[in-house]
Symmetry: C2
Subunit: 437 residues, 2 copies
């Protein structure tokens, strides 16, 4: 019998605020950070090294230490567990960790303790895929509909999605899974768009140059940040349409800065630029507000989800017809267990999922999820495009590879969540070399 | 000039799980705890001692340390501030602390970082009332409608409550404030109900005895925990009606254990006991779920709010007509600034607020809020009754005083939030005497 022997959680922070990478109307100076979980075992991995699981949640700096400590507390009950028993039933492990009523009080299922749950479960899913010798997406599409539903967290969802409905969605897709794997391979992967051009802190010249580069690199979708100043937004969107033309899709993102009536007013002025969507027009908690905005700004779509705190919020977003695009976050929702539930609801309600990415490592995770969605859940690429931001990939041992606007299919075992040990050491906060200097 | 000189945050935990005080269907073994903030200054207080502010948020044990550290980080920007400048504009201080975009990412406005915001702002409001030499409720009802609206956090609410509407509510109540103060004094305080009888872990004999005592003590409302086992619930509610009769009001509380269809089914069996309300029938995040349950279980009322994460959730609860009773929590919402906004929305939508209390110190806080509501906001006592649980008051220097089912009006300066230094020392976790033994 092999056991989980060790939990280490690292406070890793990248000083991105120095260059205004990632700047938007709400988040002016984030330091992209990870509460990075390493679960050690005394089991032999497929490569002869000890089997290990790597996972993280994403933050933008201060308070990353809170997630580190919360993840440590979440993971401690795992130490001493039988590796195979845990990995063979990640639904049971998830339910057990989620049932800690004292930690639950601090959410429930939201904020720091839920981000910590994401980090720990991400590490367990990574470990499971490494044990299987498969990339996570492949391990998941090799599971039966029953196995997938058993690990999904369907609590509080039965008024919107029953277990039987979830099974029916997965069973309908099952016979044709192989066809869609072949299709993705033929296309060169899963389609993505880039946000790298459009940060609010960039100059007009840099904006113009980055947009032109994005089109040259094969992207058909680009995204710009808006919401700080209306005249500025009009000017920058004018530049954007000059550079990318009117055939490429333009998305805009307000990062929660508006009240509901203000969002509707502002969008009257930005609608002439024909954005595909307005992202995070108001508080991410405001289901009814998003629904009201959506009714007012159509045919511009409404997108939200990177701050979608849990599956209960997404359930209501679907029930209220509040979203045209669901942008779930792989490090805010509690890993595959909760994300599966959101994908299944999205499929039932016919809402395309275009996951949030960027930050640090989110692209590495979401490629697996988008691929899973196409192969085994929604079976569609229509209106689906996954975010890609070209930052910080060099710190991962199995970085995502984007070619011609597509995430190529990951092939290495795991959830692509492992960072280079040198990066972890150098960017550890506050004692790593990059922070001491 | 006097300045805020010092932030101390204490991890205070009471081992309530040893006696099953506070046990319910979701929270079987809570250790009632406080992340307890002490803000020191070099200003002279009215009593000659240095002016100090005391505040806290409430948790049930593990993870209280996360709130302690988050509160410390939230409060650090206050050190070195001019005391009068800060206390003269607590709206500005609130907005500044809330605008920390890096900490905001961890919510936003929910979970650990929001509980920490509550603790810190509670300490500032306590300090402001001590400086004024008044109990908090009195300081608040001595403020003008404009001053109250200026400190209220109305962000994201303008589709439900404009600043002008908020002012109109407060102005309508202003001329008759003195009359209602006199009315409360004549009645012996603000009406309350007791939960002390109904914890799930208590035996039938203890339940019967405590219910009889409650009626003898003058309570006209009692509350029981339900939701773990339907046959048990029927048996315990039968006992309750035998003891209290059919004239006293009986409330029941499921503490979030049900899915929406399950709540509706379960309540078909409990409705014959004519409960005034079913509290927390499902996930506290589920606005549309509460609305569906409310439509199904009427005339039984639906109550929720102790886990209501922020004002945006309550806005939607009101917009969706999801609640008959709003049970906001004084240590989960971000203190007076956010609580005022919820009371003002409740007044506009005609929903009575019956605050959650119990835990440790929540009764001490909410008495001030209920009194404020009656005098300056809703102007009504109809369908309003504030929770009271007779636990842990001995640890406070100005404990609430309940006589004949009423909170008597606090008279000491402050927000009644100060604990005895000996209690803080003895119950500090993990090194206090009570935890070492």
């Amino acid at each position: 019998m092999s056991t989980i022997t060790r939990v280490r959680v690292h406070d890793v922070r990248f000083p991105t605020s120095r260059t205004l990478d990632g700047s938007d109307a709400m988040n002016k100076d984030g330091d992209y950070s990870a509460a990075y979980v390493v679960l050690g075992t005394d089991a032999a991995g497929p490569d002869g090294e000890p089997l290990t699981g790597y996972g993280f949640t994403f933050t933008i700096g201060r308070g990353n230490d809170l997630c580190v400590e919360a993840a440590r507390q979440r993971a401690l009950p795992l130490v001493g567990r039988d590796v195979d028993e845990a990995l063979d039933d990640l639904g049971a492990v998830y339910r057990e960790l989620a049932a800690d009523s004292q930690l639950r009080w601090l959410g429930p299922e939201k904020g720091v303790v839920h981000l910590a749950m994401a980090a720990v479960m991400n590490a367990l899913w990574d470990m499971a895929a490494r044990r299987a010798g498969k990339p996570l997406w492949r391990m998941l599409v090799d599971m039966t509909p029953e196995q997938l539903v058993d690990v999904a967290d369907l609590r509080y969802l039965s008024d919107a999605l029953t277990r039987e409905e979830a099974l029916a969605i997965l069973r309908a897709a099952e016979p044709t899974r192989a066809m869609r794997i072949a299709d993705l391979e033929a296309r060169g992967g899963y389609p993505c768009y880039t946000t790298s051009a459009g940060w609010l802190g960039y100059s007009d010249d840099k904006l113009r140059r980055l947009l032109a580069e994005a089109i040259d690199e094969g992207y058909r979708h680009v995204k710009l940040k808006v919401g700080a100043d209306l005249a500025e937004d009009v000017r920058r969107l004018t530049i954007a349409r000059e550079v990318i033309g009117w055939d490429a899709a333009l998305m805009i993102d307000a990062n929660q800065v508006w009240d509901v009536p203000q969002a509707i007013m502002w969008m009257e002025h930005l609608a002439p630029f024909r954005p595909l969507w307005i992202e995070e027009p108001t508080s991410p908690d405001d289901v009814l507000g998003h629904a009201a905005i959506r009714r007012a700004v159509a045919p511009v779509g409404v997108a939200s989800g990177e701050h979608g705190m849990n599956r209960v919020l997404f359930k209501q977003m679907f029930q209220a017809q509040a979203l045209d695009f669901c942008q779930l976050d792989s490090a805010r929702l509690a890993s595959v267990n909760e994300i599966l539930a959101v994908y299944l609801m999205a499929a039932k309600f016919g809402v395309p999922v275009c996951p949030h990415a960027g930050g640090v490592g989110l692209c590495e995770l979401v490629q697996h999820l988008s691929i899973l969605d196409y192969i085994a859940i929604s079976t569609s690429l229509e209106n689906r495009v996954t975010e890609f931001v070209d930052h910080l990939h060099e710190h991962f041992t199995d970085p995502c590879v984007v070619v011609d606007g597509h995430y190529t299919l990951p092939t290495a075992p795991g959830y692509s969540a492992r960072m280079h040990p040198d990066s972890v050491a150098a960017f550890s906060y506050p004692d790593g070399a990059e922070w001491r200097s």
